[in-house]
């Protein structure tokens, strides 16, 4: 679905790098989390994957849009980033404008996406009238409505309170089960990565690179299970740059 080969990014003419030597492949239908400390370049990696930022070196292959009237990727931002002058409905329609769709078709598709996130009733309201959690759901609808081959999420629940956050995580899993989208989800929260993802990619270091690529067990996830606790320990060590408590230095998903 998306493949990064030896990707590096520099803002000062290749003197210093933010990311370097990043190899990554995400297959159709996978839910992959990119986990790493704040400032590790996770958000930047996401933008490189969707070709919003061109890498300084290496190459990016992104699957084309699934339909003629869609876009290759849909991005969910950290604090929703809705346009305050557009209604909820018109915010969701943003990505549909310029795709050659008629007004009625745009309207219907946006409403479908809003229904999926449970906000069809709020279609005519303004962003300022919604709660933080609702705004973020509109952000998810806006990304889904362009029928992206790849759904990218940039710490989408990071600014929300714990209860809202848990609710939205559950809802995201339901939507994912329903749509079978390929998801690339950035977070600095180990728990969140383990609850949501099939695979966790650890990004850390200066310049940042892939430190580990680990598979998570079957769903539904039980936080208390011993295997999950061992995984959490390993992830913590990988982020901190310590030796892997389970033994080897670098772990591939296939090895688990």
């Amino acid at each position: 679905m998306v493949r990064l080969r030896n990707v590096g990014l520099s803002h000062d003419g290749a003197r210093s790098f933010i990311l370097r030597g990043v190899d990554l492949e995400i297959r159709r239908g996978e839910f992959v989390a990119v986990l790493g400390p704040s400032g590790a370049g996770k958000s930047t990696l996401l933008r490189i994957a969707m070709k919003l930022i061109a890498p300084t070196e290496g190459e990016v292959t992104l699957a084309p849009a699934a339909t003629a009237q869609g876009r290759p990727a849909g991005l969910v931002f950290q604090d929703a980033k809705l346009m305050p002058w557009r209604t909820v409905q018109r915010n969701v329609e943003l990505g549909l404008e310029g795709l050659g769709l008629g007004r009625a078709a745009r309207h219907a598709r946006a409403l479908d996406a809003l229904r999926l996130v449970g906000l069809a009733e709020q279609a005519g309201r303004w962003p300022r009238q919604l709660s933080g959690g609702q705004r973020q759901r509109v952000g998810v609808a806006r990304a889904l409505t362009v029928e992206p081959a790849l759904l990218l999420m940039d710490e989408p629940f990071g600014a929300l309170d714990a209860i809202t956050r848990a609710g939205l995580q559950e809802e995201l899993l339901r939507i994912w089960a329903q749509t079978r989208k390929t998801v690339l989800f950035v977070t600095h929260d180990i728990d969140e990565a383990m609850i949501l993802a099939d695979r966790i990619i650890v990004l850390a270091g200066h310049p940042a690179s892939v430190r580990g690529d680990l598979a998570v067990g079957p769903r539904p996830r039980d936080r208390g299970a011993p295997a999950m606790q061992i995984l959490a320990e390993r992830l913590r060590a990988l982020i901190a740059g310590e030796p892997d408590p389970a033994g080897a230095g670098y772990w591939r998903a296939s090895e688990i």
Binding site: M50, M83, R86, L94, W126, Q129
Partner: protein
């Protein structure tokens, strides 16, 4: 709740009207009891016959028609040019830097100082008066638009780009114009008031209109006429401002 806010929304304009009536009452009373000699300040009740004379002679209607023409033309030209220049300078840093010196030289010159050139270039007619009004409105709108563009949330450009509107047109129409609209509207409204002040200045040098009529009246010490035209201008300002606010509130409904 709704009843409460409904009642409160009526209280302000009602109190405003009470204050206005009280002002005219005090004014009338202080002239009547001789606190203020009627030669220095005409009583409101004396204004009515003088006003009827002006209306019968057609002077009042003519002055309004002439001044409204200067006002609307000057306002439209100054606002459109000032708004556009401000938008451009706010959006294009090179242009902004290039013109910063020019702006600094021209900005402090008041519209009135341009009167000799207005006469020279445009003559003692509508064009001359329009020019003076347009200049004073230009700068208000220039700075309002400039500031509005500068304070746009930069992240919204990324949102637009992520949903396929990263080009010049997309940035302009999906982000810059709607995001800057509140600032543009605030500039227009300030200009609306400023332009009435400039109307008097622009007509002082002999272009027919309210200002010219006031000058004639004051040279004859016809203070009642001066007051009539002062009140006329206040009324016209109130009407234009009200009409503008109706339009503005429709456009900026999202601000609530």
């Amino acid at each position: 709740m709704r009843r409460g806010t409904g009642r409160r929304s009526w209280r302000r304009p009602l109190l405003g009207a009470v204050g206005l009536v009280a002002m005219f009452g005090l004014w009338e009373a202080s002239v009547r009891i001789g606190l203020v000699p009627s030669g220095l300040l005409p009583a409101p009740s004396d204004l009515v016959p003088a006003w009827l004379d002006e209306v019968r002679g057609g002077f009042w209607q003519g002055a309004i028609r002439d001044s409204m023409t200067h006002y609307l033309l000057g306002l439209a030209i100054g606002s459109v040019l000032g708004g556009l220049a401000g938008l451009l300078c706010g959006a294009v840093p090179v242009l902004d830097a290039l013109l910063s010196g020019v702006v600094r030289v021209l900005r402090p010159i008041p519209g009135l100082a341009w009167v000799p050139f207005a006469i020279l270039w445009f003559g003692l007619d509508t064009a001359g008066a329009t020019f003076v009004i347009a200049i004073s409105v230009f700068w208000i709108n220039f700075y309002a638009a400039h500031g509005a563009v500068q304070s746009i949330d930069r992240d919204l450009f990324e949102v637009a780009a992520a949903f396929g509107h990263g080009g010049f047109g997309g940035r302009l129409f999906k982000v810059v114009l709607p995001a800057a609209m509140p600032g543009l509207m605030a500039g227009l409204r300030t200009g609306l008031g400023q332009a009435w002040m400039s109307v008097v200045a622009a007509e002082l040098f002999g272009v027919p209109g309210i200002g010219a009529r006031m000058m004639q009246a004051s040279s004859l010490l016809a203070t009642d006429l001066v007051v009539i035209y002062m009140l006329t201008m206040a009324l016209l300002y109130a009407l234009t401002d009200m009409a503008f606010m109706l339009v503005r509130n429709r456009i900026l409904g999202w601000q609530g």
